[in-house]
């Protein structure tokens, strides 16, 4: 029988006395508000267009975090483990997309007007579609194999063991990528249609700013994918069986559900979302290298915890929030933009102290997936 690994209904609260926590929280909050007040009202250096620009970039990065965070949450919901190699699955997706654009860019021919163009510019939609399909497929395959090789043999081991295996898999995949693709930082070859830096020009309060095409693509595609995923989990037979397996593996098996199959499919779906996020990351940020998945992976994990791990809407919300915090936070608090990563983790620590179950974790604690 599958071990009945039930999660604690609520995360154990920190042992800090309530009063100390409240005083600490009050200090932190007053500091934040004081900084916000000084920067926004007193100094008032920033024009509205700057805020809008930060908001846009927050939404874009938030969409990517959300997609990756869903993968952490799905796997946690079903196996109660943190798949620390999930960032590497995203990295593999980024590379897969990179090679598609390399290939479509390398295929050159003379167009009817006599100019030499590449396939990626002659057929931009096709090559973008192809990059996403290949990126998602390759990442999904890696997710599937990752579970089969690194986690399945350890299914009945104590919970710490697969976690160690996950960290090992993460290091292994990074090194493998370095070995295969060299440590070089490479440029993503976007089709000209969605060249980086290009976008729609808009005017906000008299100032001009551009909404980047890659940002629009990233944001809208991540919303579509999240919506599709959510509908799938709520309504489809696979989605329902995922929820059943997450709730109780033995009983799910008694329904005739192939529990191992559902676990594999969960990794495939998580991999697809991470692969899509990887291609978006490449298109939007323009760089790909063997540890490109590390920071987004950790940030997405933070997002999943922020929203309440095991909870899908939580992962989406957490990702968006973290994207915003990271993008708007440093400016709003008047600290260096370089500190955005630090800010993200400070937020994580604060959440873990005051609401360890995350934002949506407690309300929907029964709704594991």
């Amino acid at each position: 029988m599958e071990n009945e690994i039930r999660p604690p209904r609520r995360y154990k609260r920190s042992k800090l006395p309530k009063l100390v926590r409240w005083i600490f929280g009050l200090i932190v909050l007053s500091y934040f508000f004081w900084r916000l007040y000084t920067v926004i009202i007193v100094q008032n250096e920033y024009t509205p267009d700057i805020w809008v620009r930060l908001l846009i970039s927050g939404l874009v990065i938030g969409g990517v975090y959300s997609l990756i965070a869903i993968g952490y949450t799905l796997v946690y919901g079903i196996l109660r483990m943190i798949n620390f190699a999930h960032g590497e699955v995203m990295m593999i997706g980024t590379f897969a997309g990179y090679f598609v654009f390399e290939a479509t860019n390398a295929i050159r021919f003379t167009s009817s007007t006599g100019e030499i163009t590449s396939l990626s510019n002659a057929q931009p939609f096709l090559s973008i579609l192809l990059a996403f399909i290949v990126g998602m497929t390759v990442a999904a395959t890696s997710g599937f194999l990752l579970e089969k090789i690194a986690y399945r043999p350890l299914r009945k081991a104590p919970r710490l063991i697969p976690l160690i295996s996950a960290i090992g898999a993460s290091i292994f995949l990074q090194n493998l990528a370095q070995l295969l693709f060299s440590p070089l930082v490479r440029d993503y070859k976007n089709p000209d249609l969605i060249a980086r830096g290009q976008g729609w020009a808009i005017t906000v309060a008299g100032a001009r700013l551009t909404i980047p095409y890659t940002g629009v693509l990233t944001f809208s595609l991540s919303i579509i994918l999240m919506f599709a995923l959510y509908t799938m989990v709520r309504k489809s037979k696979l989605g329902k069986s995922m929820r059943a397996v997450a709730a109780d593996k033995s009983t799910a098996a008694l329904m005739g559900i192939d529990v191992n199959g559902v676990i594999s499919q969960t990794f495939i779906i998580s991999g697809m979302l991470a692969g899509a996020a990887g291609v978006m990351w490449g298109l939007h940020n323009g760089l790909v290298y063997y540890y490109v998945g590390f920071l987004p992976g950790i940030k997405a994990f933070t997002s999943a915890v922020l929203g309440g791990i095991g909870n899908i809407p939580g992962a989406m919300l957490g990702g968006m929030l973290l994207g915003m915090i990271e993008s708007i936070g440093p400016t709003a608090l008047g600290i260096s933009y370089q500190l955005k990563d630090v800010l993200a983790f400070v937020i994580l620590i604060i959440i873990l102290i005051f609401r360890p179950s995350g934002i949506l974790g407690e309300v929907l604690s029964e709704e594991k997936v």
Binding site: M1, E2, K237, K240, S241, R243, A244, A247, D248, S250, T251, A252, A253, L254, M255, G256, I257, D258, V259, E366, E367, K368
Partner: protein, 235 residues
Amino acid sequence: MLKVTDLNVHYGAIHALQGVSFNLQEGEIVTLIGANGAGKSTLLNTISGLLPAVKGKVEYLDEDITNLEPQKIVRKGIVQVPEGRKIFAAMSVMENLEMGAFTVTDKKLIADKVEEMFAKFPILGKRSKQLGGTLSGGEQQMLAIARGLMASPKLLLLDEPSMGLSPVLVEQIFDTIQSINNSGTSVILVEQNAQMALVIAHRAYVLETGKIVLEGDAQEVLQNPMVIEAYLGVS
């Protein structure tokens, strides 16, 4: 229909089933009675494929199904309604029923089955959109049985369906089991409530610390002095 021979199951060092043999003919209700910890649930879980047998055989319709995966056993028509109901608490009554019909691919058949269950258990029809976890104990037991019937089993394994229910509800559940059997489904009924189980069963086995210690027609077992003392004594 089902033939279990010399079944041995271990939990680590605990030898939970020590050579259990029993059989069931098509159309029968066979009850397995025994005290807490006798190994009743272990036996059902082994038949269902959740636990591995280290020795012995489970044959069903002349086919060896020992240690087959649970989902394959369900597909062969053996469905278990587990002890403690195990309703999916965060899923609606309807979704719980759909999970019961997981192996059924014909959507029309599933819809018909749902209608049949709502006719059999009208309260489930009224609560169809409610989350399983919000039902009362009796309603959950009905849902658990209905969920088990969704796959149209040939053999239904019931693990302590009367556990924790009021006498009125217990009676209702046993009536239901009888009617399920009357409509052609064979039943293995595991119970601590020996009295009621022996009344509706055709044959009975008494399990004690992993061994069958007594078997016979339900009527005979009901009269057996040892059974009266150990399992019916209080009443």
